[in-house]
Amino acid sequence: MLRLQNISKSFSGVKALQNVSLLFKSGEVHALCGENGAGKTTLMNIISGNIAADQGQLFWNEKEVKIGSVLESQSIGISIVHQEKSLVDSLSISENIYPVNQPINRAGLIDHYALSCKTKKLLAELQVGNLSPSMIVGRLSSPQKSMVEIAKALAKNPKLLILDEPTASITHSEAEVVFTIIRKLKEKGVSIIYISHRMSEIQQIADTVSVLKDGKYQGTVAGKTPVSDIVRMMVGRELLSAVYHSDAGKPIRLKIENISGKGFNDISFSLYKGEILGFAGLLGSGRTEMARAIFGDTKINNGTMFLNGKKYNPHHPFNAIDAGIAYLPDDRKTEGLFLEKSVAENIISTGLKHGFYKEKQIFNKAENLKEQLRIRTPTVKQLVRKLSGGNQQKVVLAKWMALKPELLIVNEPTLGVDVGAKIEIYKILKNLTAQMKSVLLISSELTELLLLSDRIAVMYNGRLKMILDKSEATEEKIAAFALGIN
């Protein structure tokens, strides 16, 4: 259906793609794998006409095509669901789904009734009939937004649908819905290019898998190929699956007694020195809200907290920082990073206490942390926006490491991060505990929790349901508590 031949593209001297040739057959689900920065998104942008390739040709049904703009790619039947959300928060669902090709009535005006009907049909197909076309997108949850995003792409009746990490911000059950849709589309003969970091998903739905590494094509294998083989193609090294030993000591670092606030209720637990305490739960279970309250970003209505045996009552994040607590937010782009600032500036952002701003010292400090955390960037003067997701996440970590915190709260530390960077982030966290620092780990990836945590706390509906020891925790048990079944 679509064949790429010798596609190359470079950005200001850096080769993002080198001589990539790929074939996408009609009616297949073709997964595209690679670490962040491997060139997947660039390739998809070329296919969808967002950017132009420096070299190479595209063949659509064996006829050479030039795709100069998004409109052109849409007209031949290519639709893309972007990783970066392309929705306008202030508009309704139907307006978002039909930004240009709205149904028109005889007077040439937008036919709102038809628009609403068409939207309703699309939403029903996606099994999200509970959403009404007139709802404002800004009020939707992020999984709901992903659905709208997919609906928007489907509205153009594509022959080739590109899904760029559609499940990055949604839960497992919602991902199932996406898979059902993918299978349905496949039956209709629509080709799908599927990009995801979740290997299990690729195993589930992909017919074929192609791998990119550092902008180069690594090969194509069948969908049922074992994960370890695919990963080896991606990173060129084995996925680390060693069981970490525990560093947990006895002295209590943080003791929480019956705290309540907006979104969480009556929570008590203790966190020991050198311990990683995992927090499992569904989206909206109150984990993030609790973490933010401990960090002083939101108010605590009831209860008391003790840090190193002393009463601790933060009013603002800077109180928490002064007390030696750091918080890595789940959404690094909106809450963790200054995208238009350099790596060095991002790293220093937590250290703006007083005195003079000495650029040289800052660069040295940043350079050190860059080496320590292995942030891949030519220079610390590089804008963070230009880094890949994994490296961006390391910058957020670096900005907290610069303060040498006693307690690090990490919220989804490996969200949208490739396998290689993931392992490095795990190592960084374990390094901290080896120095008897404590880590509070919030994650929606059960494997991650089971691998890293000394104990796993499960939250449901704003309450702490259970704290499981590593020895007794299994995926099933955690899931049962998280769903409130137990």
Partner: protein
Amino acid sequence: MEIKERLRDRIFSLGASIILLCIIMALVYPNKFPTLENFSQIMLNLSIDTIVAVGMMILMIGGMFDLSVGSIVAFAGGMAGYLMYYYDVNFIIAIIAALTGSTMIGFINGWLIAKIGINPMIQTLAMMGIVRGFALMLSGAGIQNFPYDFIYIGQSKLAGLQAPVWYMLAIVFVFGFLVNNTVFFRRYYFIGGNEKAARLSGINVKKMKIWGFVISALLAGIAGLLLSSRLGAALSTSGQGLELRVITAVILGGASLAGGVGKIWGAFLGVLFMALINNLLIISRVSGYWQEVILGAILIIAVGIDQLLLKRLDK
């Protein structure tokens, strides 16, 4: 790479345009433009705007702006004039009172915006009207006959340049240094870059916002005092339209409405560029009908070339 980085800097491209403009003007009007008298006149005229622009630049780096500065300029002059003329207050006390009043206005702006969460545009727009009203009440039909000491501040000369020019240069230097080299002012770059992330990085965003408006209002107050001292009169209409002029100059000088970028020197160069164009229009006797058209066109060309240059460099 170094040169490329440099070209990317607005200060560099704006500086180049200014030099180019000067050369062209010197060639076309060799008798009128490149004279010491004309130069000192240009500097004098831009000094008031620049002082206000420094405060505006700090705010805009932090992703905010203040529409009430023009009114504060009139208010500060009016208040000092009122006290000196009607109550024979010593000029130093009058100055302190006027500056205190200005900072209070800034504090109210900042407090309501940061703590209550009023939209900065609405807040400062409303404040612009309120303060203009006060200025009108204070200076009425205009106050003249200030004490000599007060006139001295704005009308004495040093090395051929009138005092406001020196104050302006001092303020540009001091704030240029502070913004570049102190942690306090550096925080504005982070607040403007990503307010949420700044808060979560431990920056007291609300406090910094209040300070931003206070500094901007204080500088506007100083500008107002200098203006009235220089004119020897407090005018209730002074500073009208100043806010937009200054915001334009500051954006021209490298700030962005989104915040996070800009340099104090950029503010100075932005104002200088606009003052040169104004001087060009006067020297070439362009009639009032065309002034706005030409000014608008030049702004678009200046910013347009800049964008084209950036695109070229990004390739």
